[in-house]
Amino acid sequence: MRSLHRFLSLVALALIGTCVLRARAADFSLPTLTPEELVKALQAPKGPKPLLFQVGSHMLYVQAHIPGSEYLGAGSTEVGIRNLRQRAQRLPKNAAIVLYCGCCPWSHCPNLNPAYDALRQMGFTKVKVLYLANNFGADWVDKGYPLAKGE
């Protein structure tokens, strides 16, 4: 009986350890906001709205994007980072900016980290990243949040 307890405890501890590691892999250490929080902020009658930059693929943007968001190019490419820097150049450093992608599951996105780092290096202090766990389709479009299409 005691050995069974010991075995189950070990299994449980291993499970906790795995969960902790998975949580770390997924969080990216980026300041995030959820789709619900963003929609609330965008629909609030008062207060400044954040600037929305899509830093994923153009193919995705053309199919569906958040109304008012600007396509700047994939954050994993030189062109994307150059566009982002140019766009941000004239903005005040305390401008509220939300970056989003949604090309693939959160922990596999190649675009968000470089885009976030670029803005932080430029001295921007209010940059957040939209947390889309699976992809833009599942976590934004299918939830019925506001949508725009085209260039």
Binding site: I16, C19, V20, M59, S76, N135, G137, A138
Partner: protein
């Protein structure tokens, strides 16, 4: 005391597991829809005509991918292998790159030695398939040209293989 500590650890583990389970994906895919796969006519990266309906009578694995997509990189070597293994029995893998830049798709095709036709996708084609709003997305199309299953996100090769074998076992179109 020891017993309550043990219970605490077990409960904590269960809660952690519940909290961090893979998030549910409404676009996680499905099986058995059997709706006609939208036809398309493209030119593949080798300059050949690629029309989906030309593969009627074969089982088609239609993969939407991109060179920057990590889960795609994990799946594609399996598709290359499946084309080799099941091609003689009637499987045809077709790749649609959702890259913005064709050069990247070409480099990837070469690097991964993709042994099946690959064409560049478009927003229009994506819309025909209900929107390709996340990658990878893979459709399995039966010998009658109907979507028999689809998967969103990285999927185990064994899952594809089981579905392919089942579809290949169905009667070929005369």
């Amino acid at each position: 005391m020891k017993k309550s500590l043990f219970l605490l650890v077990v409960v904590a583990a269960l809660l952690a597991w519940l909290a961090l389970r893979r998030p549910s994906a409404p676009r996680a895919g499905g099986v058995g829809e059997l709706r006609p796969a939208p036809d398309f006519s493209l030119t593949d990266l080798a300059g050949r005509k690629l029309r989906l309906s030309d593969y009627r009578g074969q089982v088609v694995l239609l993969d939407f991918w991109a060179s920057w997509c990590d889960p795609c990189k994990r799946e594609i070597p399996h598709f290359v292998e499946m084309q080799n293994r099941y091609g003689p029995q009637g499987l045809q893998v077709v790749g649609i790159s959702m890259d913005d830049d064709e050069k990247l798709a070409r480099e990837f095709q070469e690097q991964f030695k993709m042994n099946y036709p690959v064409a560049m996708g478009s927003a229009q084609l994506a819309n025909q398939y209900g929107g390709i709003l996340g990658l990878p997305i893979t459709y399995l199309i039966d010998r009658q040209g109907r979507i028999a299953a689809w998967h969103v996100g990285a999927t185990e090769a064994e899952v594809f293989e089981a579905e392919i074998r089942k579809l290949l076992a169905s009667t070929p179109v005369p």
